[in-house]
């Protein structure tokens, strides 16, 4: 620029450089934070579960265990607690691979059936139907809740699987869930996905859950 000297505030070049530096710095910071976050949210292993190592996202094999949601006094938020072994569709010996495939099949089904455009997953999605983040732990599906007697099933997983396959047989609200042609295999996989999702440490979202009577607590 061969013009006369002007103050730095009026210089295009100064502001262009500022923009480049600020953006560059923000991008580098984001990349650095992402490199720290990704390992922290990668799934744990079955050994972690056996040895009681807490992971933000546990191994899919967590479906073999009881899951609770309790107040952590230090963090002052509710966090998932992994308890003792628990039957899931009559088994509690899913191997790591088997469980991972099952949960993945569930996730694929959740995507294919477009669940997220009515429900929310981890609080993201549509607001036309209940949040699914901790649905596995929801009092409505527990022993004392209304859904087990409605479907005539004895366990949460069976009640959920039955509901998913025949939603129009069990109207829970005027806003009914449509029949999405979910097969028995897909239903089991979706329930596994939901159970696994409830074991993710979401920094206490959703809030106030454990104050409600009937909410699932481990131990």
């Amino acid at each position: 620029m061969e013009e006369q000297k002007i103050s730095v505030w009026g210089s295009v070049r100064f502001w262009r450089n500022t923009a480049v530096w600020v953006t560059g710095f923000a991008v580098l910071l984001l990349i650095w934070l992402s490199l720290d976050t990704i390992p922290q949210i990668s799934a744990g292993t079955i050994e972690d579960l056996e040895n009681g190592v807490t992971k933000r996202v546990p191994s899919a094999a967590v479906i073999n265990y009881e899951i609770g949601y309790e107040l952590d006094n230090k963090r002052k938020t509710e966090i998932p607690i992994i308890g003792g072994k628990q039957m899931f569709f009559g088994r509690n010996d899913y191997s790591e691979e088997e469980a991972t495939e099952l949960v993945s099949h569930g996730k694929m089904t959740v995507q294919s059936k477009n669940c997220m455009n009515c429900h929310t997953l981890l609080g993201n999605g549509a607001y036309y139907a209940p949040d699914l983040t901790k649905s596995w732990l929801d009092p409505a599906w527990s022993e004392t809740g209304p859904y087990r007697p409605m479907t005539g099933k004895a366990t949460t997983e069976e009640a959920m699987a039955e509901f998913l396959q025949h939603p129009n047989k069990y109207p829970t609200h005027a806003r009914m869930m449509p029949d999405l042609g979910i097969t028995p295999d897909e239903a089991i996989a979706v329930v596994a996905f939901l159970k696994h999702m409830s074991s993710i440490d979401t920094n206490g979202f959703p809030r106030n859950f454990n104050k409600i009577k009937g909410a699932v607590n481990a131990k």
């Binding site: 600020v22 953006t23 976050t37 455009n117 993201n124 409600i212």
Partner: protein, 480 residues
Amino acid sequence: MLSRVMNVQYESQKLAINYFQVALILFGAQLLFGLTTAIQYLYPQFLFGIIDFSVGRMVHLNAMIVWLLYAMIGSVYWLLPDETGIETVGIKIGRLLFYILTLAVTIVVVVYLVVQVGPGNAMSRWLIHEGREYIEAPRWADIGIVVVVLGFLGNVFATAFKGKRTGIVTVLMIDLLALAGLYLAGMFYTKNVSVDQFWWWWVIHLWVEATWEVYVAAVIGYGLIKTIGANRKIIEMWIWIEVAMLFGSGILGIGHHYFWIGTPEYWLEIGALFSALEPVPLLGMFVHVIYDWGKQAGKRTPMTNTPAFSWFVVTTFGNFLGAGVWGFMHTLPQINLYTHGTQWTAAHGHLAFYGAYVAALIGMMYIGLQGKYGLKEMRMTASAKWGITLLTGGVLGMTMALTIAGYVQTFIERGQWGATWQGYFVGQNSPWMIQAYGWRLAMGVVTILGFVFLMKDMMTIARTAQRENLKTESTATATA
């Protein structure tokens, strides 16, 4: 002479007009499916089993994203010859890509509406939809979009290097490259839902709260030069200042999406800090608009395109209210823990998208219209006034209604009932909630009326302006 012949000398600008036309059709589709879903909130049996809420909402969101992208690509094709002084390089390929993209979009929408859902396997993801909010497009379409965008970027870069590369074009080049690159972050399957949403936000947030914002800042800069004859040097300097402020706060503002998806706790602080900074660039624009307006009022420079300028004003205020005020109201993690995933988000989303993007791009379309018929001056017509008033009023009304819904939902479902399923249904059945949904529907109808006026105006404003220009000319000759 009243003519419907295009008065555009550049092929690039003719292509821009085509992009705008398809954008408007998709805008109509967005409103239509917004209407069906709004009705379903009140009458769940409406179209149940035919076009379920999930399908309608997917089309509502996707039509919006795609029409905004169409209008964005169109705006670039429009301003490129003006800025560089030459015809866009490779415009024939650009036109071919336009037809390919439009065909692909049509197929995707038809499949959404006809096939709707598939079995839980990879095939569904590749051929039907991906089932991830906002970026539902099936994988084959993702790849197609990348190819089309690469072609578009090729056009922009080749033209900029061959012709005059202004500051506005430079910002757009970098920004569009980032925008296209970010799309790749949403193009793979992962078994881990937390990792899935982590990368998903890279696309959504870094588009909507970073690269799109910068894109709009650059395009409005061009618009202000065109409509009120703003000084180019000041505009370009300010675009760089805006880039610094928008990227400085917006990129790490992604933290407010990483509060509750399984990501570590430090995102709570980062998200809170940078979201609190996000209104700063909006306030910066505010001060600048006031300053310019003060200067303008003194000079009385004639405005050459009042509808476009009015839409740019709506953008400044709409962006400030929608993104700034409605964003800050529920962004701090302490309160977001209760509001996340409620109608609050819907309230914020409606006003923010309208204010930041819809208004700005409609402004660009008016500039396109003016140029298409080679009009020196274009004034507000009655339909233009009705259009801008009803659209803005309708969206504001929907936002108000959804804000009440969000408040009631937060209070009952999250506060009293601990975010349980029962709490969800108790909240939804509350008379306050139902009334709010009713008002949202009514205001949605107002918005659609505004769209009808807008369409009517876009089809007739040029003729009206030509007729008036003729009248003034003939009076001038008569007095002479």
